[in-house]
Amino acid sequence: MTIAVHLKGVSVAYALAGGGKYEAVRPVDLSVRDGEFVALLGPTGCGKSTLLNIAAGLMPPSSGTCDIFGERLSGLCGKAGYLFQQDALMPWKTAEDNVAIGLEVGGMRRAEALERARAMLAKVGLAAFGERYPHQLSGGQKKRVALAQVLVREPKILLMDEPFGPLDAQTRLIMSELLLDLWQQDRKAVMFVTHDLDEAIALSDRVVVMSAGPSSRFIGEFAVDLPRPRDIAEVRSEPAFHRLHSDIWSCLRDEVRKTYGLSDKGAA
């Protein structure tokens, strides 16, 4: 099996304003196989998103290296598509232009790019919304456009930073279902960052748990052997789901408490 993303001894430290440095992430190793869906789970502020940004090439690691399909990453990762947590669409472009632009800047003719963009928007259930501007769409619809924007470029790797975090509970379920549906069709490597335990288990093949920051590290790894294709709503009632849930939670619980314990002290 080919390794899609390989983080080797990656650590992250920031220079502090008063001198010295803040160690956000201790050296970690992580590999995501081609076609594997890995969820990166941890309490808020543990540096999950930072690892994602390193894999995307948006920021360099303080130490260690990142290999994408065996090639050392320097600069932006052209093989990866990144779905951001926040709204990242260009507000001055219509939905279909937002999707098409990723193809156009790669040199595709506009007519063809638009055609593909429309097809991809239809896939995410927005066939009738191509000419709308982002402000005319709901939060869930904007997420769909963002998903189409990423998928239309056919990236080999999907990097997702709590993409459904800002959505309401029902919309999250629908979006997770849509994501699994689309992923099932061509099984790309996925790094999915979340703080939602249910979401992590329901979506992924493997859950990697991170400790609370600072100096985060990996504290657990759980294979999710639930059968695919999965039904997001039904998978939660399976006994295997509950077993995994309590195993991962017992690993995560102390870390979450630590986060709040630390912030309590910080406030006092």
Binding site: A56, L58, L76, G78, A80, G81, Y82, F84, Q86, D87, A88, L89, M90, P91, W92, K93, T94, I101, G102, V105, G106, Y133, P134, H135, A146, Q149, R153
Partner: protein, 264 residues
């Protein structure tokens, strides 16, 4: 605010104008506030003023002045806006340049532009160019600050996303920075066009041989109050017309901006 139908709104707006003219007419016809002769000397009368405006358009003497002011306004706007966009972009993309020039930009902007009028007349002569450059100094700063702000305030996540979609620097400029900056330019279009008119008229007022500002100045010189008011009325109409054109131009350009959503 409770919504109000268009015809009703228009009727109320006209009512305000009628009321103003009525008061103006009454106090210059009967000696209520002061002696009619005194009142007419200071305020003329609405009938005289509109009669003068009418005759100015009829005999055609005003068109040349309107044309001159219009040309000055357009030139001031185009030159000022272009400079503002180019330099605004440059400063926003090169923080060192912005830091070096920051105090000078502030100083120049703090200077009341009226004091430049005589020196511009000296440099550029009494023709249209001294007025154009006066307008440019006004328009430039508005557009410059807006472009600077617009380029710097592009959300980081939109930029990161655009980069991940494969955009190079040139494409970022075209698809991200440029539209972001333009949005700010358009949102200040009414102000900057208004200032282009101000530059032109103030310049004319302080020294010229043509234009609406010149007309008003001439009338003032001979205590022709009717002429002054007539000039002001024409100037107001001129500004309203330009503002209307701006509204027409900006509408299709800002469709992507969230506006008020109304239920039906």
């Amino acid at each position: 605010m409770t919504p109000i139908s268009r015809p009703k709104l228009l009727a109320l707006q006209i009512l305000v104008a009628v009321a103003v003219f009525l008061v103006w007419h009454v106090v210059t016809t009967w000696s209520i506030v002061a002696d009619v002769k005194t009142m007419r000397f200071f305020f003329s009368t609405p009938i005289d003023v509109f009669g003068r405006v009418f005759s100015m358009f009829m005999e055609g003497s005003v068109y040349r002045h309107l044309w001159i002011t219009l040309v000055e306004t357009i030139l001031a706007f185009v030159i000022g806006a272009s400079l503002g966009i180019v330099i605004g972009f440059w400063f926003a993309r090169k923080p060192i340049v912005a830091a070096v020039f920051d105090p000078y930009v502030k100083m120049m902007n703090a200077l009341p532009r009226v004091v430049l009028a005589p020196i511009f007349a000296l440099w550029f002569g009494l023709g249209i160019w001294s007025k154009v450059w006066l307008g440019v100094t006004l328009v430039f700063f508005i557009v410059f600050f807006n472009v600077y702000q617009g380029v710097r305030e592009v959300p980081q996540v939109v930029l990161a996303n655009a980069r991940m979609l494969g955009m190079n620097e040139r494409q970022l400029l075209r698809h991200v920075y440029w539209p972001a900056a333009l949005a700010w330019v358009f949102s200040s279009l009414h102000t900057s066009v208004g200032f282009a008119v101000v530059g032109a008229v103030v310049g004319e007022y302080l020294g010229s041989a043509a234009g609406l500002g010149y007309l008003i100045h001439q009338a003032e010189g001979v205590f022709d109050v009717t002429g002054v008011f007539a000039g002001m009325v024409i100037l107001m109409g001129f500004v309203m017309l330009i503002d209307g054109i701006v509204t027409l131009v900006e509408k299709p350009l800002l469709v992507w901006k969230p506006g008020e959503t109304r239920t039906v």
